[in-house]
Amino acid sequence: MSDGRINLKLKIWKQSGPNFPGSFADFEVQVSPDASFLEMLDELNNDLESKGLEPVAFESDCREGICGTCGLVINGQPHGPIPKIATCQLHMRNFKDEDTIWVEPFRAKAFPVVKDLIVKRSAFDKIMYAGGFVSVNTGGVPDANAILIPKEKAAESFDAAACIGCGACVAACKNASAMLFVSAKVSQFALLPQGQPERYERVQKMVKVMDDLGFGSCTNTYACEAECPKGISVRNIARMNRDYFVAKVKSANLEVEV
């Protein structure tokens, strides 16, 4: 250590494109414990670039744990060892001098690797396009306070809506299931009066697209909840399953075209 900085060995996944094989590459860095994990990667990349070497590709944006852009598997855990934070909120004081850190992309069939640590998560958006909304046009809506919503219902809906769409749930799941992501959006609306008119149609549409896109099924290991940076509850999955079942029972003919 010098000036309180810590020395680390990094084993980072490098892969030049979706159709190329990847492998771990070794790097060494010295970093301030006050730096964030991504600032550590910024410093590494700046060093590589100044030597004319290609930097490690990774995505990030807000660096405040809310945009859901960043997402690395660190020492085997999506978003690293500290619960309920995104990768960008992880700080180097959580590592010790001389530690070796393994850094990988989120891995899932539905999330192909773009380059190094970047994966394509457009499958999540496609599920949203299928039904992740309340069908209201701009204008012509009632006064905001005309819809009364019990405080605890609103809070429960908010907790589901807090999902940042990062994909850690999929990366954590041995089946690469997207049930936590989909059920969070389904629940946000199922808990609110605004979501009732389309409640049963929505759940069927979203689940159908989810299944079509190659996400696995849920086997209730709850790994998704454990790794979710926003602590989205698996109770949302139970709620979605219930709604899906009700939708099927209500009308065998309600199969919707997507």
Binding site: E49, V136, L192
Partner: protein, 637 residues
């Protein structure tokens, strides 16, 4: 002599202007709307709400984002809330009061008619978002809850915990998703706009780079909307997201769109202090914390004691002392400058660049649980980043660049000086004057996107009847090859300095000389230094990799190249404005007790700059008239 800009403000009493204008504007028959192509660049609050609303109306919309998904835009990080003049609290709020507060908060440098319209539609925004299923905070009776924000004495801020921006953006993203599903909006992800295509003086399309394949592409339309956010990353360290940049509006500026009030930047008072050289980004702590937190420093210079060892009588609660009526909820510019003052006086935390934000008294008064319920997630964020627990130890905060009030000049219809080019949200200059009040950015983004542009763009299409130019027109070819050449040039330099090194250097010049306090000497130095740095950039930047495929260094290089031009204009603008107002504080123009000294006689105008050639601009003015809010010294004492 400079041209006088025509803001096209409708006639009539301020409360009737928008209503009259909506009636007078031309309409497009519902069946004909599908014949029009509209490009929307950016999918934050303004862009997503505009794209969704225009898609609903029947237009063919192409929306562009450089992110992997429309949901990532930086609007998502807004924490505190959104203002709306609903007067649900029965505390005397009204459209007129929100209008008044916003004009005053902007230090009388905004356009009255625009601000009034913003206040007027603020209620509609809340109605819209609630109908979309945005889960706002509620009272036990099921009604919406409110909190207070800086610069206002009524509670008009609606919120969803400390994640209001996230919930509003996801609402707009939902509405956009619905239109994408219906194929009324074609969403282009991972595509960054690098050029505006102008044919015969009219905006006709854009050139983009696909960030995954490197392909440069042409897109044509009947009208182009830019909703690409602000440029606070010119300071390198800011609360903006890593990818926020000025490129879209800057390149439009170089194609003829005037840039208004570039020096009006907001330095947010409550951010986490800088930890070291390796820092890439600053984190904001919501202004809502100032509802219960008290800001203080020691009365003694270089006081090395731990905060909890400094007794009450040796603490200086400087905001409460200087501004007794607004106290800790004084507006952002005033709070930031006061923090700088005490730090310059050597009274910052242990002599450094930070002040305390203390919850001790609020915890004693309301109990730890009440504070946890209100601010729990913000306290957790603070502890995660700093390792300190704010329940036991005051937070350390310091101002940081956060928002830019300046942007492309637009008229009342939100159209720039290039016909067919509209600019929404933070990317335009229109509503916040020299200082934006808290919880007003979300309001403006959504007002522009949901409730203004759907009307005004129809009027443009119906009155001007613009033609669609094919994307293989000569001008598109010329602009496309221009961008390809620029890309090649950036890669071929292969010099000694990385992009980040050069960006950090620019950031330091901007922060030290075009930051919270400015003077003639330092502004002139800044101009020289920026020019030298720009020269150094084009001689010595090192961009590794190739133009094909994903190259994040190349993306950043293009953005920094634009900042190196914008920074100079910001300094010019600050130099020209020989007065202090809002976020623009010129040390030469202050009152005896150090308050901003505005000069309404000579500077009651919007500065709009026309790009001539690199480092040369022509200055235009839009005079500001205050018919309704009487010009007065802005006092929060």
């Amino acid at each position: 002599m400079a041209t006088i800009l025509n803001a096209k403000i409708p006639e009539g009493n301020i409360s009737e202007k928008w209503t009259n204008h909506k009636f007078n504007m031309k309409l497009i028959n519902p069946a004909n709307k599908r014949k029009y192509q509209i490009i929307v660049v950016g999918t934050g609050l303004a862009g997503a709400s505009a794209a969704a609303s225009l898609g609903e109306l029947g237009y063919n919309v192409s929306a562009f984002t450089y992110h992997d998904s429309a949901r990532r835009a930086h609007s998502i990080a807004a924490q505190g809330g959104i203002n709306a003049a609903k007067n649900y609290q029965n505390d005397g709020d009204s459209v007129y009061r929100l209008f008044y507060d916003t004009v005053k908060g902007g230090d009388y440098r905004s356009r009255e008619a625009n601000v009034y319209r913003l206040a007027e539609v603020s209620g509609n925004i809340m109605d819209q978002c609630v109908a979309q299923g945005v889960p706002f905070a509620r009272e036990y009776g099921g009604l919406l809850d409110n909190r207070s924000f800086g610069g206002a004495q009524v509670s008009r801020t609606f919120y969803a915990k400390g994640q209001t921006g996230q919930q509003l953006l996801l609402g707009a993203y939902s509405a956009l998703s619905r239109q994408v599903g219906k194929e009324k909006v074609k969403l282009h992800t991972h595509k960054e706009m690098l050029e505006l295509v102008v044919v015969d003086g009219i905006a006709k399309g854009i050139i983009t780079r696909d960030l995954l394949t490197g392909e440069i592409e042409s897109h044509s339309a009947h009208a182009v909307i830019l909703a690409t956010g602000g440029y606070a990353n010119v300071y390198f360290l800011s609360t903006n997201a890593m990818n926020c940049n000025t490129t879209a509006i800057w390149r439009a500026h170089k194609k003829g769109a005037l840039f208004a009030n570039p020096c009006f930047t907001q330095i947010h008072p409550t951010c986490l202090p800088v930890h070291g050289e390796g820092q890439s980004k600053l984190t904001l702590m919501s202004e809502s914390l100032r509802n219960d937190g008290r800001v203080w420093v020691s009365k003694i210079k270089k006081d090395m004691r731990e905060p909890n060892d400094i007794p009450e009588e040796e603490r200086d609660y400087y905001l409460e002392r200087k501004y007794p009526s607004f106290g800790n909820l004084s507006p952002r510019d005033i709070s930031s400058r006061s923090a700088k003052e005490v730090v310059d006086d050597g009274r910052g935390v242990k002599g450094g660049e930070a002040v305390y934000l203390d919850f001790r008294d609020a915890i004693n008064r309301l109990g730890k649980n009440a504070i946890e319920e209100k601010y729990g997630n913000l306290f957790e964020i603070y502890e995660t980043i700093t390792g300190d627990n704010p329940y036991n130890m005051p937070m350390k905060i310091y101002p940081a660049p956060h928002y830019t009030m300046g942007g492309l000049w637009v008229d009342y219809n939100l159209m720039s000086t290039i016909p067919g080019l509209f600019v929404l949200g933070e990317a335009n200059f229109s509503d916040h004057g020299a200082n934006r009040l808290g919880a007003s950015a979300l309001m403006q983004g959504l007002a522009d996107g949901y409730f203004v542009i759907p009307y005004t763009i129809g009027n443009y299409l119906a009155s001007d009847k613009p033609e669609l130019i094919p994307a293989d027109h000569d001008q598109f070819k010329k602009d496309k090859s221009g961008i390809e050449d620029l890309t090649k040039k950036l890669i071929s330099i292969n010099g000694k300095h990385t992009v980040d090194e050069l960006h950090k250097k620019l950031g330091r010049i901007m922060w030290n000389k075009v930051g919270m306090a400015r003077n003639e000497k330092r502004l002139n130095e800044a101009i020289d230094e920026i020019r030298n740095l720009r020269e150094e950039f084009w001689k010595n930047v090192k961009v590794v990799g190739s133009a094909e495929g994903l190259n994040q260094t190349l993306e950043r290089a293009g953005r920094v190249a634009d900042y190196l031009e914008l920074g100079e204009l910001m300094a010019y603008d600050a130099l020209e404005r020989k007065e202090s107002c809002g976020g623009h504080f010129r040390e030469e123009y202050q009152t005896e007790d150090g308050e901003a000294l505005r000069d309404d006689q000579n500077y009651s105008y919007v500065s709009a700059w026309e790009f001539k050639e690199l480092g040369k601009w022509e200055h235009h003015k839009e005079p500001l008239e205050f018919e309704y809010v009487k010009l007065a010294t802005r006092s929060y004492k």
